[in-house]
Symmetry: C2
Subunit: 376 residues, 2 copies
């Protein structure tokens, strides 16, 4: 898997006359090396040229990188007193490595990710810089069969978790408790069925009229009350590959208007899920779901695009957005999540993760989406 | 709280002849405006000049920002078809706002955070750029009384969570299940005691000789076995302020050597916790804990500094590192977490979060750290 990526990436670098690619983004580095760390304040850098993959890591990742990283050479920097005579910063290694390339040297960078301070240092050193972000996005947007297998597992696990949370949907349960029921079952079942694997999750629940109207909020300790509209969002990742699964549901006695909007959103999502396939454009999907809302008189309450790519990152380009002419292809992965947010009424959004196949698509998330299943 | 920060920050900008500060980092933006969103692929930008705080946000954050952000003006960009005639990108607003400043104009940027592409665009527009990252770090490193109150709550919640996880420390429990027990209790108790607040957490458990030797790994489905050394790390945040709480424990029959190293690490941590106070330097604390390990013959197995600042971010500068001459001050917050990682034996690290007071320090995390409490 890694070998063919590296091969494809090197061909691109060669065609663009880029001598070495400097990867800063953790997801891009994982994509190329299989190594991902909890990095925070300690930068990790991957350098890829025609011959070698080189990795710069902090000392505390040395054992981890030795086990996981497909790198030809590893450079360690230290922060401990015992090694005070050794390199103490990643910059020291980076400068040394880059200076070894004969001038004039062109470095490929992720322009939307590399920090300005590093960028300026590279300019000061006299390098030519070329943006390789688009190429990485493009490669990552088409998932291989191996990646799709991981995504499918993530999707099934997310269904189990969302079902367990929904089993606890009732008055008096807080948003965070609601999340935690699904989290716990997810980790219990995953531990039983997938020994020695990496599994993670993130979830957000926005309950009540005021909070559900805001598409993206962190969960709070607010407790569900009778008449709440609740938007529950969840991502689950299996060995770093993410599925998204979101459901909007109602607690107790919602109004007729809320019920109508829930049905309308479900219809819009269905339109998107049925039409997505290779050969149509990203914009077509976005405009089609919009039109469902618009015909019903709610076009102005749509606040976001229909979906985003995903995989290693929470959101990956390209997006299902009305101004994106991109023609969809087999192997792309998208969320389908048209939503409306009506002041004084509530927010309504389901999200499912679909994989585009040769002739159509299938959803890796399968928890029921119908209206009746969303009443608690 | 925000008012005095803004006032202090404006004085700094004025003294440095910076016309406007462009904040990109979500934590810095929250620090200055009280507003924080789940942003991912949709940039949010805060601009602060001598008169106004201006905020550029995606449409889906409009209601959220109206409720939370202390901003004088808000600029919205859209991604929905219904508003296709309106501004569709943050860049459109940013360019417009920045062009309104008379030339020559100096913009303050966070050089270690701002993406290279944005930085280059500002250079192309002819602006002078000045790094304001250090000032923001400096201001954030001294916590106010209000911030300390939030940190204390985060600390107590982390104690409850870690205790509940440890209650389930036994053979056959997976790392992820172990985490989830604490998570669940945390969310249950927090929901009971703190209605309508934001609470979050992150945890990582590295079990067994091989995994505990690596200081930073995501939790896996690996199940605890007899003789495991386990390093459990946890952060809990309360209204965005984070406490860190980590314990190393043993399951069943560990070796004498493992027990000795656990005791040694506890001793090193105690040395750090007892000495940290205003007036000593960051390096002194780091070197003192190192010496505990070194005298026992384990200096070479220290892999990281003694601690990091924290608050809004997981890791905040400045660090307790042997090459940091910084004199510690009242209001600074640090983890004290000296660790050793010995191949074939295991990794050993406790972490507690301490707040420096006028005359000394206190720990906001209080779960027992002694040797006997770490045997399961």
């Amino acid at each position: 898997m890694l070998t063919s990526r590296i091969h494809q990436f090197r061909s691109y670098l060669e065609a663009r006359h880029i001598d070495v690619a400097l990867l800063w983004d953790p997801d891009n580095q994982f994509y190329m090396t299989g190594f991902r760390a909890i990095s925070y304040s300690r930068p990790i850098v991957t350098l890829i040229d025609e011959k070698e993959i080189q990795l710069i890591i902090p000392a505390l990742e040395e054992a981890h990188a030795a086990e996981k990283a497909a790198a030809d050479r590893t450079y360690v920097y230290y922060e401990q007193y015992a090694f005070r005579e050794k390199p103490l910063t990643y910059e020291e290694h980076l400068t040394g490595i880059l200076k070894s390339y004969p001038a004039p040297c062109t470095i490929g960078i992720e322009a939307d990710i590399l920090p300005a301070s590093v960028y300026q240092r590279l300019l000061d050193m006299g390098f030519q810089l070329a943006d390789i972000g688009g190429q990485l996005t493009k490669m990552r947007s088409i998932k291989s069969a191996d990646e799709i297998e991981l995504l499918k597992i993530a999707g099934s696990l997310s269904d189990l978790a969302i079902g367990e949370s929904l089993r606890h949907a009732r008055v008096g349960v807080s948003e965070l408790e609601f999340d935690s029921h699904g989290d716990r079952l997810l980790l219990e079942l995953a531990s039983r069925d997938y020994p020695d694997e990496l599994i993670g999750y993130a979830d957000w629940t926005c309950s009540g009229i005021q909070r559900s109207e805001m598409p993206h909020l962190y969960s709070s300790t607010r407790k569900f009350t009778n008449g709440d509209v609740v938007v529950h969002s969840r991502q689950v990742w299996f060995n770093n590959y993410r599925a998204e699964n979101e459901r909007t549901f109602m607690i107790g006695n919602g109004t007729e208007k809320q019920k109508d909007l829930l049905k309308l959103m479900i219809e819009a999502q269905q339109v998107g899920m049925e039409m997505i396939r290779p050969g149509i454009s990203a914009k077509d999907v976005d405009i089609a779901t919009f039109q469902v809302f618009d015909k019903a008189g709610y076009g102005e309450f749509v606040q976001h695009r229909t979906g985003h790519g995903l995989g290693l990152s929470e959101h990956e380009e390209p997006y299902l957005r009305f101004d994106n002419e991109l023609i969809l292809q087999e192997g792309m992965v998208y969320t389908i999540e048209p939503g409306i947010y009506v002041p004084g009424v509530g927010g309504f959004r389901h999200s499912d993760t679909v994989i585009i196949t040769e002739n159509g698509s299938f959803s890796i998330t399968a928890y029921p989406r119908d209206f009746e299943s969303m009443l608690f």
